[in-house]
């Protein structure tokens, strides 16, 4: 052991990420119905690491250390538990004999098996019988190693709410007898869609600024990207739309640092300092867009990524290709005719066609009566048309509807300018 090794040599979030990996592997080993046992083993392992490393030094191979301890704890559990068949349908017979027990456990901790286990866990967490909000909570708890408290902070809700969502998800796992399988054949495509949808929602949740705990919310974006990356790495799930979603996340994430000023005020796209956009994330986005082009398919993620890429490609707000963006929104609206897409399409039309057209389109949208961004957009158009009294009226409506501190700040300053 190197005495000079210190904590700084540990990767950021190592515990959190390894927790997710180990829970996935152990759940596969013990069977998903024993997910709580898996979680306990991981918790014990990390506690042991915390109290051991803290007194001396970080071991040369911290990850190997964690896996060894977790493996031993799992083997102890399996030895105590005699009815192996009720433990893991996949490995039960191999865990019965002392001869194959250790090697089976060891094999599951190999890198490619870990990835496979995480992917299976994603499918289980995003099982169609589990409600979307529970899917996300369970994903964050099991795959991302976030505590109920951290999840509730990120979602601006109570611990109780999150605990309930996770409880319901776990109940579903038991009643529906959900296993850690990779879905086959015809089922695969729709199950991948469910995973992607969940990751998309997770990312968006982290992306919208709430003004409460920005750091932990950016963690949500990071976790969504990490898991989406895993999906794109597996031959079975690397659909073009998986890559398109990751591309979209890269483009959005590239602007994370530019969208708030020092005082945490929102900076709209129009006014962002584009030199603060993360170049490497942007080029990763473009790279993924190319990969997502074949075999040919058009998903909403393709279109959203293409829209985001138009912004990334523009040197300034004025040089943005709004005609392309408007056209992409028209295509998106065909695939996904919902009022939010309609609203974004209308906003794009303000630059692609003219403000009057945008106002017209916006006025026709039904279903966004409780959506602050809807009123804020109308206010913005009126402001640009120099109709300040109307602008003020709509900004005020938007202000009444948002609970985000950042957005309130922004809207108040807009009202003051009217």
């Amino acid at each position: 052991m190197d005495q000079n090794k210190n904590i700084n040599q540990l990767v950021d979030h190592l515990f959190r990420h390894e927790s997710g990996k180990m829970i996935a592997v152990l759940s596969r080993l013990l069977g998903l119905q024993n997910i709580e046992v898996a979680q306990d083993i991981v918790q014990d392992t990390l506690l042991q690491a915390m109290s051991t490393w803290g007194y001396k030094a970080v071991p040369d191979n911290p990850v190997g250390w964690l896996y060894r301890v977790a493996k031993n704890k799992a083997i102890d559990f399996l030895r105590r538990e005699k009815r192996f068949h009720e433990i893991s349908p996949e490995y039960g017979y191999l865990l019965e004999s002392e001869y194959t027990l250790s090697s089976t456990v060891n094999n599951l901790f190999l890198e490619n098996e870990i990835q496979d286990s995480q992917l299976r866990m994603m499918f289980a967490c995003c099982h169609p019988s589990i409600a979307e909000e529970s899917q996300i909570a369970l994903t964050l708890k099991t795959l991302c190693g976030l505590s109920v408290n951290e999840i509730s902070k990120a979602f601006l809700t109570t611990e109780e709410t999150i605990a309930k969502r996770i409880y319901r998800a776990k109940e579903k796992i038991k009643t529906e007898k959900i296993q850690l399988d990779v879905p086959q054949n015809t089922e695969l495509s729709s199950r991948v869609d469910a995973v992607l949808k969940s990751l998309y929602l997770l990312f968006n949740e982290g992306y919208k600024s709430s003004g409460s705990d920005e750091l932990i919310r950016e963690d949500l974006c990071e976790e969504a990207m990490r898991l989406c990356f895993l999906v794109t790495q597996h031959s079975l799930t690397a659909f073009p739309r998986s890559k398109a979603l990751l591309a979209l996340m890269c483009f959005q994430a590239s602007r994370l640092d530019a969208r708030l000023d020092d005082k945490n005020n929102i900076i709209l796209l129009k006014h962002q300092d584009r030199s603060k956009w993360n170049r490497s994330l942007m080029s990763k986005g473009f790279e993924l867009m190319e990969e997502a082009a074949e075999p040919f398919e058009v998903s909403t993620y393709h279109l959203e990524a293409a829209i985001a890429s138009q912004h990334s490609a523009a040197r300034s707000f004025e040089q943005t290709n709004w005609k392309n963006i408007y056209h992409l929104y028209e295509m998106l609206y065909q695939l996904q005719p919902n009022p939010v897409v309609a609203m974004n399409k209308a906003i794009a039309s303000a630059y692609a066609i003219n403000k009057e057209n945008a106002l017209n389109e916006l006025r026709q949208i039904k279903g966004l009566e409780n959506h602050h961004l809807y009123y804020a957009s109308i206010g913005e158009i009126y402001f640009d048309l120099e109709n300040k009294p109307e602008a003020k009226k709509f900004y005020q409506k938007a202000l009444d509807l948002t609970s985000s501190v950042y957005e309130q700040q922004l809207l108040k300053s807009k009202i003051n300018n009217c």
Binding site: Q3, I7, L14, R16, L47, M50, V58, S147
Partner: protein, 118 residues
């Protein structure tokens, strides 16, 4: 320079998230680093929870314990260098567990001259 032992007593927090555990460990590592750089740190070992209590003549009585529920469980120890007890106490105040229901016993290691009459 004298040697002192820090004995860490307290309950291990059970409900920490992985992120918090890593953070907490980071504080311990930073503390050790600081002691090491100042040439104060000699050794340290963590102790596993549980164990046995042996008592009676010839160790007749062996019981399980100390129990982890107890407040006074020893989680581990450091040996450090310090000029005197005052300096040792000052050094112990950086222990990241303080304020979370934990205590540090600071004890001086007695110097025994082996082979010399006392």
């Amino acid at each position: 320079m004298e040697k002192f032992m820090f004995i860490f007593e307290g309950v291990q927090p059970g409900n920490l998230s992985p992120e918090h555990m890593q953070e907490h460990m980071g504080k311990w590592m930073a503390w050790i680093d600081k002691l090491r750089k100042a040439n104060k740190y000699v050794a340290g070992e963590p102790l596993l929870p549980g164990g046995k209590l042996v008592s009676g003549p010839n160790g007749k009585s062996v019981t399980d314990g100390p129990y982890t529920e107890g407040k006074e469980v020893v989680g581990g120890f450091f040996i450090i260098n310090a000029k005197d007890i005052d300096e040792a106490v000052e050094l112990s105040k950086d222990c990241p567990d303080l304020g979370h229901g934990s205590k540090v016993q600071v004890r001086q290691v007695m110097k025994v001259e082996v082979g010399q009459p006392a």
